[in-house]
Amino acid sequence: MDFQLSDDQRALRSGMRDLLGAVFDRDRLRAAVERDGALDRSLWRELGAAGFFALRLPEEAGGVGLGLPEAVLLFEEAGRALLPGPLVATHLAAGLVEGAAEGEAVVTAVTADLPVAHLAEADAALVGTDALAGEPLAGEALRAFVAGARPVRSMDPLTPLHRAPTPVAAGSRAASQRTPTDAERAPAATERTPAHAGRFRFEAALLTAAEQLGSAARTTEAAVQHAGDREQFGSPIGSFQAVKHLCADMLARTEPARAAVYAAALTGDPVEIAAAKLLADEAAVRNARDCLQIHGGMGFTWEADVHLHLKRAWLRASSWLTGAGAEELLAAGLGAAGRLPRSSAAYGRPVPEAGGGG
């Protein structure tokens, strides 16, 4: 067992951080905010060229041939940088939708009850939580779908949103996010390539959790930075326990979430992914809240970046696997019932020993 990043994984992560620092610095972030999150196609292609979307495609198929653990590291960096766009859906569509792997196509996802991100800009849309099993929306069908959708004034300035027409048109039926049957949806063991029910949703939930993790770590840094700089009563406010304890709690949310996200990427176990999503959602949302609080009045302004983290975190928390859905799945994994073979099923990789009495 060596549950630490390998040298290659560290290099991949710092490479991604450098890339985003070069192509998506703060000026470009604020420019994206000013144009209401409209995508920068050349940036999308740069991500494609860097292998962000093709990361997990086999090398024979023109991909990078890496796995979920590496994808999670890249999505964590994307979350840190508040990189806009339907990153998860396009990544999952690589190899399924032409141009997705290269960053030529923008692919969004349509799931029940949730607003659809970047729909007007999308070249294709994956439909339903079992989207890999069905045909993506494209061409005429997509145009008809967009025509029937209603644009909403998005709370998140980095994510343009549409409400989809109901019922959802294609492929698979709309899936409820909360029913106990979530447990039955857990995917069975399989290789990565074959599509099957559930895989898409759980991978999407995990990659979204990785973005949340990056955001949670970033808002912790921002809060610590501000608490060290800002002086009141003649001292940095970070010297006051009321403030420093908020910062400590932020780290105490981030690090368990990190362990959960990385472990879920290694095992692919649905229950472990549910734990990762639940804890990463909570870390991202609550850390953004605390970061805002520590910034005081400045935190309440449009100019500060913290609201961008909070709004995005709220949106991600409601995507793919909500808190309620994750908790139900985790509950179903408990006790004698949870020890049935189904719940230990993983996909893509053999399950390492679950450990800890599980």
Binding site: Q4, A263, E328, L329, A331, A332, L334
Partner: protein, 384 residues
């Protein structure tokens, strides 16, 4: 990143499992919580069994009589013994996890030869005399005085929260040997024989009703100067060195136990029908996420120790902060599962709920942990 164990690690696990399956059947019945001599006998019997099988002092260095196991082997040992329902370290805690490692790191050859083998064999029990009524979180403010008189120190003062004091043979004692020095620099570390004249042990009853620790009154107790480990007035450093023996494994058994409790709570709730309450179900589901993450964080911390050979960086305080709070939530959920039975102390989990109230206080309060995380990890400025 790799969560799979090596062949050698799995072999170690397999041998341990076999041994546990063979010996646990032969254990005597667990003694009652208030029968301290019986508790000592039970705990030392178990330690002797570990010794005879080559598992005593697993994480101690070989030159101290230990097995020199890797942090991962130690993790596996703690995981498997907990899963098998083996006895806890119990009365051997201070000897194996604090005083022993301190002597191993800082003691002379003679001191190591005198004190370490009996700890490993389960022949001698140690207790800890650190905290005082006026020196808790601010431990370095301790006032118990030791005055040199010939070959002895004469020790007078009061210690508190001393577990196993009634049955211990030795006490690792922090005393003030230079009252004029800055508070961290006038402290010495002594091994005090518990049968010395002038020691009075008064058990303290906890809110759970049992006597888990004691006050220790010291009235001109003579401790040979040869029982001092490290230099005079260097005791603070001596005792802090021991913390570097912590390699991320401090709460392995506890996390395993919590996960087992959580499974049992789910089974009980399904049996009684309370499982149909989605609020309770989701509460248990959330705890499943928490303890799974804490288990993974433990593995991450142990892996970091394995790589660096030292204390996990982010690990200890972040872990303890989160764990102690979540474990209290576990027993709050247990009370909900129990319903009206939550007020019957003979029901499983009720005493655990009461005991859990100490977790955010003992071994560094959650407030102190937050200070440590904020100042030593995040680099925020110290307060006044």
């Amino acid at each position: 990143m790799d969560l799979t164990y090596t062949e050698a690690e799995e072999e170690f696990r397999g041998r341990l499992r076999e041994w546990l399956a063979a010996v646990l059947r032969g254990l005597p019945a667990k003694p009652s919580a208030d029968d301290w001599p019986a508790r000592r006998a039970y705990d030392t019997t178990w330690q002797r069994m570990l010794y005879d099988a080559g598992y005593a002092g697993l994480h101690w260095p070989v030159d101290a009589g230990g097995q020199g196991a890797t942090p991962t082997q130690h993790l596996i040992f703690l995981e498997e013994t907990e899963k098998a329902g083996a006895p806890y370290v119990g009365a051997n805690f201070v000897g194996l996890l604090h005083a022993g490692p301190t002597i191993a790191a800082e003691g002379t050859a003679g001191q190591r030869a005198r004190w370490l083998p009996p700890v490993l064999r389960g022949d001698e029990i140690w207790c800890q005399g650190f905290s005082e009524p006026d020196a808790g979180s601010d431990l370095a403010a301790l006032r118990t005085r030791a005055v040199r008189d010939g070959d002895d120190y004469v020790v007078t003062g009061q210690k508190i929260w001393t577990s196993h004091a009634e049955v211990a043979d030795w006490c690792e004692l922090l005393v003030r040997t230079d009252p004029d020095a800055p508070k961290h620099r006038g402290i010495s570390w002594l091994a005090m024989p518990m049968d010395a004249p002038g020691i009075t042990v008064r058990p303290l009853r906890t809110l759970a009703g049992s006597t888990e620790f004691a006050e220790v009154f010291l009235d001109e107790v003579r401790v040979p100067a040869s029982c001092r480990v490290g230099a005079e007035n260097d005791g603070w450093r001596v005792t802090m060195v021991t913390l570097s023996f912590e390699r991320g494994t401090a709460f392995v058994g506890e996390v395993v136990a919590c996960r087992r409790t959580l499974d049992a709570l789910a089974d009980e709730a399904r049996r009684t029908g309370r499982w149909d309450d989605p609020a309770l179900r989701r509460r248990l589901g959330r705890l499943n996420a928490e303890f799974r993450a804490l288990w993974r964080l433990t593995q991450a911390n142990v892996s970091e120790s394995e790589r660096t050979g030292g204390v996990p960086g982010v690990g200890g305080s972040v872990f303890k902060l989160r764990y102690s709070g979540v474990r209290q939530e576990l027993y709050e959920a247990a009370a909900e599962v129990l319903g009206a039975d939550a007020f019957d102390v003979d029901r499983e989990w009720v005493l655990d709920r009461l005991s859990s109230l100490s977790y955010t206080i003992a071994a560094g309060t959650s407030q102190i942990q937050r200070n440590i995380v904020a100042e030593r990890i995040l680099g925020l400025p110290k307060g006044r």
